[in-house]
């Protein structure tokens, strides 16, 4: 699947990979034993230190707790996203995709942005899924539209937003419509780009270009290889994003942002910065927003609920595996301006 990309590196690697070791039992036993030994030692260390006393200063301890919490919370969703992504690539027949999804432009992106309704994966899981769509031949614009819309239109998010706010202040409706509109707006703008591949990180663009148009046979080994590729790309980014989120939360008191309160414009900006910093899961961020409802305007809450699922520190780290930095900067500005506009509109209308 990724021959093209590896084609670039094969020369460098060839002395290693073509060494005729032959997969005999002896040569396999050593690396597998080593893996088992490392896992056993790590498990022993973890179990021994679980109940230990922690001498760390409170700020460091809090930072570690917060970063670990982001990782542990995201872990199952990333797995879910990777598994669905593999399933989409290996087992969803092209015929069905063509039958269900319109061929062109705006209608196609509109349908894709609603795909989140049947794929209840929040933002971390959406990244591998959007990458899977690109490998299946979906355009950059299509994938971006899906990526931005899915965490908001997914059923779990809608249910929790309803539980938190009901129909009050049109927050639920504004969130749903706002997410849909921003995703399709950004998708439309990306579709106008003359060379959308240039938005992608070079290595990822090469991988997409090399993806076979007719699919290879689905084997367990191939699925395992795809799992490895996706995990290799996602986990360093996830851990980096979690570490940054933990550090920022210890360095900047959340209250500097929440203390700004009800100003109709600055309040919106404050909650958007908060959403960016705390990198909370879209499935449950409504509950968190509810706790801010007493001191912020409905528009600020909507901006928080629309912006956060699309862009935050953790998401940017994960998206950097796929997009160029400049593309991500543009994406962030675009989504931020749109979310701000929607927040202002809600404040004017409600």
């Amino acid at each position: 699947m990724r021959e093209g990309r590896s084609g670039q590196v094969r020369d460098r690697r060839s002395p290693v990979s073509t060494t005729p070791t032959g997969p005999g039992r002896k040569s396999l036993a050593r690396p597998l034993l080593m893996v088992a030994a490392v896992v056993a030692v790590a498990a022993a260390v973890r179990l021994l230190t679980l109940g230990a006393y922690s001498p760390l200063p409170s700020a460091l301890s809090d930072g570690i707790t917060l970063a670990a919490s982001v990782v542990i919370e995201s872990l199952p969703f990333v797995f879910l996203g990777v598994v669905i992504s593999i399933a989409v690539q290996l087992w969803v027949p092209t015929k069905i995709m063509y039958a269900v999804i319109p061929r062109r432009g705006i209608a196609r992106r509109a349908v894709l942005s609603l795909l989140g309704v049947i794929l209840p994966v929040c933002e971390c899981g959406n990244v591998p899924l959007a990458r899977g769509l690109m490998l299946r031949g979906f355009s950059v614009a299509d994938s971006v539209t899906f990526l931005l819309a899915a965490p908001i239109v997914n059923p779990v998010t809608l249910v929790t937003t309803y539980q938190a706010f009901g129909w009050d202040d049109g927050i639920l409706v504004s969130r749903l419509v706002g997410g849909f509109v921003i995703a399709n707006l950004v998708g439309w703008l990306v579709s106008l780009h003359p060379e959308p591949e240039r938005l992608l990180a070079p290595a990822w663009a090469a991988a997409c270009a090399a993806a076979p148009s007719s699919r290879e046979r689905a084997t367990l080994a191939r699925a395992a290889g795809m799992f490895r590729d996706e995990v290799s790309a996602m986990f360093p980014a996830l851990f980096l994003g979690a570490a940054i989120a933990g550090i920022i939360q210890v360095a900047i008191s959340r209250e500097t942002l929440t203390g700004i309160g009800g100003h109709p414009v600055i309040g919106i900006l404050a909650l958007m910065v908060l959403a960016f910093v705390i990198a909370i899961c879209s499935n449950v961020d409504a509950f968190f927003a509810l706790s801010l409802a007493s001191s912020f305007s409905p528009g600020a809450l909507v901006a928080f609920l629309v912006f956060g699922p699309m862009i935050d520190v953790k998401m940017l780290a994960m998206l950097s595996t796929t997009f160029r930095v400049r593309a991500l900067a543009g994406l962030t500005v675009l989504v931020a301006l749109s979310a701000l506009t929607i927040g202002l509109a809600v404040n004017l209308l409600v």
């Binding site: 260390v45 973890r46 922690s54 995990v231 290799s232 209250e255 509950f287 706790s291």
Partner: protein, 243 residues
């Protein structure tokens, strides 16, 4: 080394995450990081992830030749030293944070610089005084009731029975009992706190000391505070976060 890291970093980090999650779950400490309602889901999906990771490692080792061309090589040659250092630091930091550092509750020092929340928040029903047993109210419920404007005279005869950690405000000299509530994961933890008569605190109680208090509410210079009938120092509870 750089070849090894670029090949294995993601898988090692994945393994660290899985191992940490499952060990915490086995030890009953997963709720220090996520809300109890996600524990079963997290453990099940992590187990699936563990199986997939084992398969990925197995095929990587046994079919190295076949899969090598699949390998993810995202680094341009010029960036390799940077990427290698980043990978090594990430793996080291992740191992220290997730495998070596004992799990900890967010500190009371952090709580001191936080503004305590005054409305229930999350998916928890607002407390109703009429017809309920107030001794079952948590610090969140009391903070919500007080935040809604109830004063000591509204709460005459209401018996509170709460557990939380002590917060001492150096500037005002006031004391509070606080506890964090988590709606999803620890990142969204919010502090709920109720004032308490400082003179009633057990000797030697300092910031972060956990106490179990029973008592009633009284007016202290315009602020409604808890006036303990009994107050005792207790060890940190198994469920330090309200959920």
């Amino acid at each position: 080394m750089s070849d090894f890291l670029s090949r294995w970093t993601g898988l090692i980090l994945c393994g660290i995450g899985i191992l940490s999650t499952l060990a915490l779950a086995a030890h009953g400490d997963l709720t220090l990081y996520i809300h109890p309602r996600y524990v079963v889901f997290t453990v099940l999906v992590t187990l699936v992830g563990a199986v997939l990771l084992a398969l990925a490692v197995w095929f990587s080792v046994t079919r190295r030749d076949q899969l090598d061309h699949d390998h993810d090589h995202d680094h341009a040659p010029g960036q390799r030293p940077v990427a290698t250092v980043t990978s090594a630091v990430l793996v080291g930091a992740a191992a220290l944070a997730l495998l070596v550092t004992p799990p900890a509750v967010l500190s009371a020092e952090r709580a001191l610089t936080s503004t305590a929340a005054t409305s229930g928040g999350g998916d928890v029903a607002a407390p109703v005084l009429v017809g309920s047993d107030p001794t079952r109210f948590s610090l969140r419920d009391w903070a919500t009731i007080l935040g809604a404007g109830s004063s000591a005279s509204d709460l005459v005869g209401q018996q509170a029975d709460v557990t939380g950690f002590v917060l001492l405000d150096a500037a005002t000299g006031r004391a509070r009992v606080g506890r964090y509530a988590v709606t999803c994961c620890t990142v969204d933890a919010q502090l709920f706190a109720v004032g308490i008569e400082r003179s009633s605190l057990p000797a030697g109680a300092e910031i972060g000391t956990w106490v179990h208090v029973t008592g009633t509410f009284t007016d202290d210079d315009g602020t409604t505070v808890l006036s303990p009938d009994t107050i005792e120092e207790v060890p940190e509870p198994d469920d330090p976060y309200l959920s």
